[in-house]
Subunit: 464 residues, 4 copies
């Protein structure tokens, strides 16, 4: 999509609004209706029962006295007018990609929000991810069906791996054929890119169908938004693994506990889990390269810590040390390696490297225990704060669709719910840790070296 | 303090900075030193190793195209220059008021932050709240002493009830006599008002002593800041009580579960716990008056829900229905009542009223189970997200004191750490729920009536 | 029932078997069938696929070289022959009395055991306790219906308070009218006495109906059996309350935490929770009287502990100090007291007494926090070990009924599952703590005084 | 040791007592002292303050009318007379082998039991397992030092891998040199065999030193005793992994969750975890061989379950399928395999085999998630019931040593604490599952096939 297609509105003192598409952008003469919430006694008691249509959310809150105002997003929430009559709405929900705590809560609250706030009774669950659109697996969703699902992990709709290769045309055919006019899509970056393409096709066909993304990534690597749902739950659950690694490490001489946590491109889970635990000696993330051998390398640091404390705990993101593994594998027989997926698990790889280094090269007795809690973390039900987060995201999604917005994702920006155009969510650069002050805080709390040569720093920062 | 004493800085497009005091405001010719963090390898790897001295945080993020910019606060974080030499710092920490999850984490991280980031080795714990200043109970705090305390609930320093009647002069004498030059104070509104008075006295005496407040209120009723630490933990732990009430209620015909949660003036815990749980039929908070008898009253709602579902769960904040209890008590023998504190517990009171109404007046068999989890909630260690929150608050506090700021509280504003002048934290109006859209969301999710006469609404809103 | 009606079989070296009734005792010429388990491949792989019909369980395992062998019970388990054809079985399950962790697991496993082991497909849930027999509330139970219920607390069948006053004749009429021929009854002592009377009436009418009791008492006060299901879960969950009380007590000077735990006649939960926690200074149980004032009294002990440690934790069973409360209430205005149930809660009563004594009489500042976790404990789902316990109890019950035994309760005796005649379960004396060595272990671990005058000891022991 | 050296006492009706050694067996004229507990007020209130010297515990409780009485063990508990004066006791504690929940509780209670019950103040912790005896790492243990350790997992004394190759003579030299006269040894079968040899050497030297074993094996494979401490905690914690595997499996089409649990020779953890969870479709244990391919094999069963339910959960003990892996590895390049420990992890191996079979051979899309929670399970603190269990074991150990018994292990037999001679604990055959009725219960609850050819069954049972 060319930039010219973006809805950009400018204002006073450098104000920019990156607005989201609206059905009325491409469908003329749409009828509007008063928002049924106005008759809902719950909403009549509060002043702000609907959101001012002009409300926007500032993306930048750290400012100087004379800073320009920069980017804003449209505020989420109920509007005075809606673009659908409740009895005409036929909504569907689909969940794609890996598991993440809170998916069931989002499903529940889309269903209950549509039902209780707007009187919408027709909601369809698409089973097994995008491909469920053109297979025959669907499940009607009512408040009764979804009543207790937020207490379970996983997704009652099922999901499927690898969302690549889905057939957009068949998906939109299916939407059109079934008469669906609100599509709620949960999933990570691949999924949201898919949602964007689906939206484009729907716009091309001129259909009155709202497409809403609810970004889902346990790794918390979605751009723009403050924090993805399920992230706090994941960090909470990761504490168990770190505690266990710490207990194991403390119980033997030269005990080393290694915990692998999720995060293919971003080290947020590892970083927050480390900050929350305080029992971690070293945290390795994808954004911050490290090396093993030689002065300033990881082995040297391990030797030092063991000498000081007698034990240590290492947390490593699944995507950390990527280049090292590649190098290492190409050094050995490549064919063997490619046949053995295990060797590509960074946690197993690092554990083996450490064992080899100390036991074989250094003739030093160490005891290393490796813990991979990934699936135990992903599968738990969400904690209370994530439950609230999911509930509000779902309600924002519903308000946005009813108000006729489309082609947007919901998320919090500086703590406020906003509608964000897909192109901002799908930016090629993932949200990453490294230039953040949080990383400095972490380094200072673990007292680990940065493992970066000055060269690396320069290179990396040029890229920002 | 008169308004004229406030540090107000104005700027471009309606920008207002409500700044915090600085030691240099009243002590001339203070020496500054380069921030030792600049030599800390952890900080050298990140671009933003210190915060731009001009950074401020916008309080208002929901804006219109042409809105004025309004209030800002000074951004928290390390400065290029500090006003203390590390070896000269003698810090103390005091914890006052009721327990709250996370206090030990804040204590730990002040100690570790001073030690590891700034090389400050002299930190004193004042035991048993403010009165510990002039009694002889103190404990030297080192990273080793505080190493594991974040895994325990409560406060290792102890606290004391009722901070009224403390002798400011004696406290400041004690600070002066001991040579303390950084004072970190954890506690709720009474405590922070005390902190403000202590700061005034210190300024009056011209002492080079930074006074830093870390607002602590499990009720989350502190103005300005996004959320007080420990709040998410409290909401999480409250789920157990609500779950239990739900199970008990479901297991008998006309089963009613009543759960009292904390919140003397503000219903945040009840509201968030209700939103997170989805098993609650009715949530009663201090901000939203209710009445028992007659049409639209609570009894009518209970009867309706029991008829529909056979059971129900009520969550009530400890401060809800205050006026009702007063009326009710004055109706009965006042002398008896005042002698019996139990009758003033709103949970016990409401439970009794419901039992009396249905069993006696309505000859209807109900089974009511009352749960008061207050102390079980307050005493748990903080969850991971609160642990991170506490860690960052402590680090912000330390950076602020080292940079010479004083008379301020730390907290997050729109997700960013800020230094907030005491007068804003100590505003007479507590942070409350009622006009918030969140309350509308809750009402719509429980489908409970508002229990408000139109009269009440008008009256209330005029007050805002 | 006269002793002569008991099935007593004697043997070698003082061997006594207190056998349970059998349908063939009062119905002549019953057909038997081979146990369908014999064709079940699961059972064919193990040697002991059915239990030897002569197996019995010794009640006494602490013996001397020349001890007589004494009482035995019939071993539970599948028999070679059964007295029901699977397609003819119509079973029902009823749950009575207070909640207890594990009830849903027992329900689930009776249903699944009948279905998977014996091919029985007709099982009825009676809702709301005994009265459900003659009201119209029943629910058909299938493996699908009960599939996940063991993960929830409470009972899906509901229960009702106060099982007194049920109409045995109407219950048996209902059983007879519906053609039910296996009745599984979960509940405490009142319930099991009811079960015994139901059995007698069924025998009087000569019906081919097996009546099986699964004793349920979170208090663990059932005679003969090792431990009632749900007890370990209750002790586990009680740890939270004790931990919280400990944290609260530690956080203030002269802090006292009081925790009330279940146990109307028996102090098992309090005793085990105290032994498991090690943070309790004093444990008060119904079996061991105590007094407040004077030398050797509780107040003296509290004063001593506070002087030594600065804080203390007291655990008290709901039935402890019964006589003290009665005395205390008769001293005050009786009418007022009887109207106020609150005054009869021993935890509130003791808390008030301690506060009055120290604050008023002793002018000593104490801070007392009272925690009543009763409903939070009862309502949790059972822990894994209780889940296994419940599963095996249910299977034993099913095997017993299929084998034609009736009028018995299932339970473990010295770790083995046994069938115990109702009259032994319904002995007037509850299982109590006091003469047990466990109590000595507890006293030595808390170092609390016994609070017993020599007089008390004598009196009590005469009663044993 | 020849059988003739065993202390066997016979009695009435086939009674056999397999007694434990006593210091007086090989040291003449030992002085005895009255048990200090007799003056302990805690013990004076209960009837049974000490155990009758003739009390023994029957090993067999499932008996027939005319069964012989068979084996008994000496009952644990305080004796009227002790063989040590409290001030002369110098005790030490050593923990060996892998971690197990509850080790710290046992340590704590040995220390507190010696201190509070017997007034023994000199207890030494040996660090890092047996080798700590002749290295210099020891730590004095007092009630204050061990006060909170039961709330932590692991062992505060540390342990070491592979207890083989310890130098008995050096250990006994160290005991003798330091003047230690009570040795408490926690550990599994290797450790207890070591303890037995240490005891023999001590007896040979004629030293007045009691050697007490507290068997520790999270796998629960110790002969004679009912259940080893920590086992219930392990089963409890294993539920998390099984739940997660279930959620993952349910969330995709043809989802398979594989969980590896501890158990090198015995499948108790897997079996109990499966029985407790009810979400497991197939449980594979070392005692019950299985095969993959062909009719009746695991692959066929998997295909069937996936067709029926769309997903499945497999639990496998670490020691299951041992022979299959050996075969499988010898089929591939042996050299490669032996260099790759990973291939010998049965969980990874089985996961790979299943993936290969379905994805490659069957062209069937499956999603397999493998979870190995071993270290997360071992490292947790013990649950309440295990805490009580550990406490009582420790007290039994202390009573036994004080009473002059030696060369014994403590454990429960039919629920009663007993002293068991080392040779019975160290029997070559581990405790195993297969012939147990419990296994039939499990098979019938999972409805899995037995995977045994009739041939296997015959062979196996002949061996019993």
């Amino acid at each position: 999509m060319s930039n010219s297609e973006h809805n950009i509105i400018t204002g006073h003192a450098g104000y920019v609004l990156e607005d989201v598409p609206h059905l009325s952008d491409y469908i003329p003469h749409l009828t509007t209706y008063p928002n049924p919430l106005q008759d809902n006694p719950s909403y009549s008691v509060v002043k702000e029962h609907s959101v001012d249509v002009d409300d926007t959310i500032a993306q930048k809150v750290v400012v100087h006295k004379n800073s320009p105002r920069e980017t804003h997003f449209r505020r989420a929430g109920p509007r005075q007018k809606v673009y659908f009559e409740s009895e005409d709405v036929y909504a569907c929900i689909v969940t794609c990609g890996g598991l993440c705590p809170g998916v069931n809560t989002v499903i529940r609250e889309i269903v209950c929000g549509l039902y209780h706030m707007y009187g919408v009774h027709k909601v369809l669950g698409i089973e097994g991810g995008y491909r469920g659109f053109y297979s025959c697996n669907t499940i009607p969703l009512t408040p009764k069906v979804v009543n207790d699902i937020h207490k379970r992990g996983g997704t009652i709709l099922g999901t499927s791996q690898g969302e690549g290769g889905n057939d957009t045309l068949k998906i939109v055919d299916s939407i059109q054929d079934r008469g669906i006019n609100q599509v709620y899509i949960l999933g990570g970056d691949g999924t949201q890119r898919g949602a964007s393409v689906i939206f484009e096709e729907i716009r091309r066909r001129g259909l009155k169908v709202s497409v809403v993304g609810i970004p889902e990534s346990v790794d918390n690597d979605i751009p723009v938004i403050d924090k993805s749902f399920g992230f706090d739950t994941a960090v909470e659950e990761a504490q168990r693994a770190i505690n266990a690694a710490h207990v194991e490490a403390e119980s033997t001489e030269n005990g080393i506990g290694v915990v692998k946590l999720m995060g293919r491109h971003s080290g947020f889970i590892s970083m927050y889990a480390t900050l929350a635990s305080r029992d971690v000696d070293c945290c390795l993330i994808p954004e911050s390269p490290f090396y093993l051998e030689g002065p300033g390398g990881l082995f040297e640091f391990i030797r030092k810590r063991l000498a000081e404390n007698g034990h240590m705990v290492i947390v490593i993101s699944e995507g950390a040390g990527h280049e090292l593994i590649s190098e290492s594998l190409s050094a050995t027989n490549k064919q063997e390696a490619s046949g053995n997926k295990l060797l590509q698990d960074v946690g197993l790889w690092l554990s083996q490297k450490i064992k080899d280094h100390f036991t074989k090269s250094q003739k030093m007795d160490i005891t290393l225990k490796y813990i991979d809690p990934t699936y135990m973390i992903r599968a738990v039900p969400s904690i209370a704060s994530d439950n609230v987060h999911c509930t509000l995201l779902a309600q924002s999604a519903v308000h946005g669709a009813m108000a006729g917005y489309t082609g947007f994702a919901v998320g919090t920006v500086n703590g406020k719910h906003a509608y964000i155009p897909f192109y901002r969510i799908n930016e090629i650069e993932k949200k990453v840790v490294i230039t953040d002050r949080m990383w400095a805080r972490l380094l200072s709390s673990t007292n680990q070296p940065s493992f970066l040569n000055p060269k690396d720093i320069t290179t990396h920062q040029t890229g920002n």
